[in-house]
């Protein structure tokens, strides 16, 4: 349950499609206590994140998987350690 699998999707280029992927992985214990707390609260209620600005478009979202649970949250709610864990690749 300590491993987090991250996938970044969306953006103007449509990451998450057949050719364009952005993925990362890290251990929950690699995060600072504050970031661990953020992740815990995201999994507890992923819908509770602050709303995006109305009209916003082309922002990234992050699919975070822990064990069998996957949540999808907007970039502005994701700790920077998680954001910087992904690598963009072509497939």
């Amino acid at each position: 349950m300590d491993r987090l699998k991250i996938e970044r999707v969306g953006g103007v280029a449509g990451f998450g499609g057949p050719h364009l992927k952005s993925r990362g992985e890290l251990a929950l214990s690699d995060l600072s206590p504050a970031d661990q707390k953020t992740v815990e609260s995201l999994f507890a209620d992923p819908k509770k994140v602050p709303a995006s600005h109305p009209g916003q478009a082309d922002a990234f979202s992050y699919r975070i998987t822990r064990g069998s649970q996957t949540i999808e949250v907007p970039e502005h709610a994701v700790p920077s350690t998680i954001k910087s864990s992904v690598k963009d690749v072509l497939e």
């Binding site: 969306g10 280029a13 449509g14 050719h19 364009l20 109305p54 916003q56 478009a57 072509l90």
Partner: protein, 343 residues
């Protein structure tokens, strides 16, 4: 003589000005006061006439307003917005700053000259951009109040300010926010993305003065990095052939191929193809009748956040008929576009 003279009626003032018992200077001031009060009344009448004309022609006044301000900020590779303001972006030695300023100014001109629109909100809103957002950031976006551009990683993508269609795409998200207010999921999400591609592509064609046959209809051609090109990807999306192999983000071509929860950058394929087909069927310039029909359909009816693609298709068919009642070819072209994608 104090100004309180203004509350004395003119006929009294005139009478007093002829009263020899008063000094010459006092009598002269009374004559002046009558004159001033007359001029003031004229001024008030003119102001009333102006207000009345302005009220009936307010839309025209909006278009007379000065061009919107265009501002650029430098995030210096952080994700903190807006970043440091650039005092003279037009002459900056930083290519990203200069490009975002120049192309944003041209998008303003495009909307003004082609669609008689004054900036993003049609009321002269400042067009604000932040460049060098994040580190090797592979994205550009509209955050609800401004544009932001990443530098790209130099392999998959280069600097996102290099795509004038990308800049037109992002600004159009602002236009949509201030008109149809489309949501960002389901049919409305796909339409939202498609409208940004349609106007981004139209802007690119307008800037190059290309007709629909000359245009390549590619989105993101100028931001593709060497790694993408090496694998044969020449664009993000191709409005004329959304499922093509050279697309980094190939899309469905039929409305029936859209699946629930699909990213709007993929579900925009069918409406993109419908627009392109309509333009090519009619010929001429994309920003001509077909572009005008799309613009009126986007801005002329107030917000419909959850609009379906079927409803938007019906609206463009209706608008084509209303705007060009004696040119059946426009309606036929719009119909051909939607029919091709199954709508």
């Amino acid at each position: 003589m104090p100004c309180s003279c203004f509350i004395i009626p003119n006929d009294v003032l005139t009478k007093l000005s002829q009263d020899k018992k008063l000094s010459a200077s006092v009598r002269k001031r009374m004559v002046d006061t009558v004159q001033i009060s007359h001029e003031l009344r004229e001024l008030r009448n003119q102001a009333a006439r102006f207000t009345s004309v302005a009220a009936t022609r307010a839309d025209g006044l909006v278009t007379l307003a000065a061009a919107p301000s265009v501002t650029v900020y430098d995030c210096k590779h952080t994700q903190t917005l807006p970043g440091t303001p650039i005092p003279k972006p037009k002459t900056s030695s930083d290519g990203s700053v200069k490009r975002s300023f120049n192309q944003t100014s041209k998008v303003a001109k495009f909307y003004e000259q082609v669609f008689n629109r004054n900036s993003i909100d049609d009321h002269g809103m400042t067009m604000m951009s932040s460049v060098h957002f994040g580190q090797s950031y592979n994205n550009a976006m509209w955050n609800g109040s401004q544009m932001l551009y990443g530098d790209g990683d130099g392999s998959i993508f280069v600097d996102f300010t290099r795509g004038n269609d990308v800049i037109g795409h992002e600004l159009t998200h602002g236009v949509t926010q201030h008109s149809l207010q489309l949501a960002y999921s389901g049919d409305a999400g796909g339409l939202n993305e498609s409208i940004s591609d349609c106007f981004g592509s139209m802007f690119r064609q307008w800037e190059a003065n290309q007709n629909v046959k000359k245009a390549d209809w590619l989105i993101g051609r100028d931001i593709m990095g060497p790694g993408s090109k090496k694998k044969g990807f020449t664009c993000l999306r191709d409005m004329a052939d959304p499922a093509a192999k050279h697309c980094l983000a190939p899309q469905p071509t039929k409305y029936s191929q859209i699946t629930p929860g699909m990213d709007p950058h993929y579900s925009s394929g069918p409406p993109n193809l419908a627009f392109c087909t309509a333009c090519v069927t009619l010929g001429g310039n994309s920003w001509g009748p077909i572009g005008q029909v799309w613009y009126r359909s986007l801005t002329g009816f107030g917000p419909t956040p959850n609009m379906t693609m079927k409803a938007f298709a019906a609206r463009t068919r209706q608008v084509a008929h209303t705007m060009y009642p004696s040119t059946a070819a426009v309606s036929a072209a719009v119909n051909a576009g939607w029919t091709k994608v199954g709508l």
